[in-house]
């Protein structure tokens, strides 16, 4: 099974490109630091956000019912989907019921998770992703590589080439302003021709029965306000109790994810446009099961800001595609194996457990602790290769027996320095591919302490 290690090795084989990718994301982390350091109460905000999410998750059913009541009173139609298949069917049914042949979408990781686009397309509905980065990867027929910056892995020349083919821009043109202007015109015509707009949901507010969507481009507003039909899709965990709680999350979200104090547009959709319809589809798709797990339920607090990806030294050097899941990076490495432990067994090990993710997470999810805890789950499920489990058991045995340990250590230090280099370094010694082994001293500490005056 090809996992993260193999894919990331391929990514770093092009070292210049890996460094370029790493620098691009570090740049966003640095912007985050500048923004966060300007807010003296930053750590208190994180604490508040964490507490609000923990509370909300402990009363989630009640808040969902309150949200539904208030949403209906706003004139919003509320639907519930147990899983991805139900979600896709509901969205399709709404669209088909209105004769929609062309849908515009703003960013929704949930709809990525449910693979909505191919489902709708197979039913004859044209779907246009309108977030510029999403549109770029859609035209390339690729998934997004980052949840907030979908095309971060692409160079401007590659986008220029794509737009030349798909949008008729000048060959060789790669100036971002020029390309963005071309996309503006192209997508404006898509907005004008669409019969429905679908948005994601950043926050659903129980108190008001409305949803909040944050964008820099304004594409959610265009898509939700021009056509008469607006569908908003949300995971159950997007709920927060009160409108005033939005201030906590909004102060954290953009600063954490893109290094801005707030996004260009923060829209509070509390009902349809005059003469229009608004639908909200509430999706479970495994979230309620995670809620029952003491260690992993905290991952449901995620507000999908992307800060953990920007800071992760492994993600920055391996790229989103090395993870093979809708959501990559540290949070993805907990969410993906929840969905399919065997398929994603390599992800919790795609981490040095440095803990940087935990320290940037605006809702204080203990990401690196959950990654560690998931490793144990995978070992218990025997989803970790036998060879690894065996070698750890052997190591544990040796280390439990001091005399074995001492003999083993002594042998290692005696023999390794005498072996020819060709025996020490080879494919059987992954440490030695790019590193020298540590020098083997003649005497161990326990030997030397005998000679130490007391």
């Amino acid at each position: 099974m090809i996992g993260h290690a193999e894919k990331s090795a391929a990514f770093v084989a092009n070292e210049d490109r890996a460094h370029w990718h790493d620098q691009s994301l570090w740049f966003v982390r640095a912007k985050r630091d500048r923004q966060a350091s300007a807010i003296p109460e930053w750590e208190a905000l994180r604490e508040a956000a964490s507490a609000i999410k923990t509370h909300t998750l402990s009363r989630l059913a009640d808040y969902l019912e309150e949200f539904e009541r208030k949403a209906i009173a706003n004139g919003i139609q509320v639907h519930w989907a147990r899983d991805a298949a139900e979600h896709n069917a509901i969205v399709h049914q709404i669209l088909a019921g209105h004769g929609v042949t062309h849908l515009v979408k703003s960013k929704s990781m949930l709809t990525e998770e449910c693979h909505l686009n191919p489902y709708l397309e197979s039913h004859g509905i044209e779907v246009t992703d309108t977030d510029l980065g999403e549109r770029i990867v859609q035209l390339r027929k690729e998934p997004p590589s980052h949840i907030v910056m979908p095309a971060i892995h692409l160079k401007r020349e590659e986008i220029g080439e794509l737009f030349h083919i798909e949008l008729g821009t000048e060959k060789g043109a790669s100036d971002p302003k020029y390309l963005t202007e071309a996309a503006r015109g192209h997508l404006r015509s898509k907005f004008m021709g669409a019969q429905a707009g679908l948005t994601g949901v950043n926050f659903a507010v129980a108190e008001t029965g409305g949803v909040v969507v944050c964008t820099n481009e304004g594409n959610a507003d265009m898509g939700a306000s021009l056509p008469r039909l607006h569908i908003a899709c949300m995971g159950i965990e997007k709920l927060i109790p009160r409108a005033r709680d939005l201030s906590v999350f909004l102060r954290l979200l953009a600063r954490s994810g893109t290094g801005q104090p707030i996004t260009g547009y923060t829209s509070h959709f509390n009902g349809p446009v005059r003469g229009g319809e608004m639908h909200v589809v509430i999706v479970d798709n495994g979230r309620s099961r995670i809620l029952g797990q003491e260690t992993f339920r905290r991952s449901l607090g995620c507000i999908r800001c992307g800060a953990c990806m920007n800071t992760c030294p492994v993600y920055r050097r391996s790229g989103g595609y090395s993870y093979g899941y809708t959501v990559p990076g540290p949070i993805g490495s907990i969410l993906a194996p929840q969905r399919d432990p065997e398929k994603y067994a390599s992800l919790p090990f795609a981490s040095s457990l440095c803990g940087s993710c935990t320290d940037v997470c605006p809702v204080k999810i203990d990401l690196h602790h959950q990654l560690l805890a998931f490793r144990k789950v995978l070992v218990d499920l025997k989803a970790v290769p036998l060879q690894k489990r065996l070698s750890m058991a052997v190591m544990g045995f040796v280390l439990s027996h001091p005399s074995l340990y001492r003999i083993g250590g002594g042998l290692m230090r005696a023999i390794v320095p005498r072996l020819p280099r060709s025996l020490v370094y080879g494919p059987w010694n992954p440490w030695g591919i790019q590193r020298e082994l540590p020098p083997m001293p003649q005497e161990s500490f326990r030997d030397l302490i005998q000679k130490e005056p007391s």
Binding site: W42, C354, G355, L372, M395, I433, P438
Partner: protein, 249 residues
């Protein structure tokens, strides 16, 4: 006068004994009763970090048996101390002397600043030094403010080293990015691990560091392996080795 149990991690015992000696000497020179219980081997971290709890648990239990009797336990390793303080609880919770052990097991630098209350470091180290702020010591033991957190800055390692005559602690462009060791990560994700390590070394090189200093030999072992393979000029040293000759008070 507290009884101090000296905990020397397995790889320090076998591969970097001089770090163990330096630690022992520093503590003894402070007038502490330091004992090295011979039956010790390992804190169990490699197994635990691989998810192999069954292999790690007996080591945790051994650790408590061996070290439970001391007033303080000191070790020249941030990650091993973090294992004891932060990850032993679910195996040893409620066992006699565990709470005391958990609350009195210290990494060397924090022991010197917080418990021995060292304020004067009288010694010489006329070199340009880059600090490798290893992740477990940094983010699990909070030996310094991590760059992600917006709290008042502090750095217990810098506090100890900065008084040495002639020392220049260089400014890195990424002061606390992970070196890429990560235990079994170093071999399981070898390509990324080494790229991360080489990037760290490059940062130290650009900042002019002659010595890369840290409190976790595992990270330094990984960096040293890369340095020696590529014939780079830096030396790696554990903080204990740097402080060994100094007068601490």
């Amino acid at each position: 006068m507290p009884n101090v149990g000296l905990f020397i991690p397995c790889y320090v015992d076998q591969l970097y004994p001089q770090v163990g000696l330096a630690t022992l000497r520093i503590l003894r020179r402070l007038g502490l009763n330091v004992e090295f219980p011979q039956e010790q081997t390992c804190c169990g971290q490699p197994m635990a970090n691989s998810g192999c709890d069954a292999a790690a648990r007996p080591l945790a239990e051994r650790f408590l048996e061996i070290f439970g009797k001391y007033d303080h336990v000191v070790s020249p390793s941030g990650s091993c101390v973090s294992m004891v303080r932060n990850h032993y609880d679910h195996w040893l919770h409620g066992k006699p002397r565990f709470e005391h052990l958990r609350d009195h097991t210290f990494e060397l630098c924090e022991y010197l600043t917080d418990i021995a209350k060292i304020v004067n470091v009288d010694g010489e180290f006329p070199f340009k030094v880059g600090l490798q702020m290893s992740c477990h010591g940094l983010r699990e033991l909070r030996l310094a403010r991590s760059s992600e957190r917006m709290v008042a800055p502090f750095n217990k390692v810098r506090q100890l080293l900065s008084q040495l005559r002639g020392i220049e602690i260089v400014e890195l462009s990424r002061p606390d990015e992970c070196c890429g060791f990560g235990g079994t990560f170093a071999v399981g994700e070898e390509a990324i691990s080494c790229l991360m390590g080489r990037d760290r070394i490059q940062d130290h090189t650009k900042a002019g560091a002659q010595v890369i200093a840290g409190f976790d030999m595992s990270c330094l072992m990984h960096l040293d392996g890369l340095i020696r393979r590529s014939d780079q000029p830096q030396r790696v040293m554990h903080v204990a080795e740097i402080l060994e000759k100094a007068q601490l008070s």
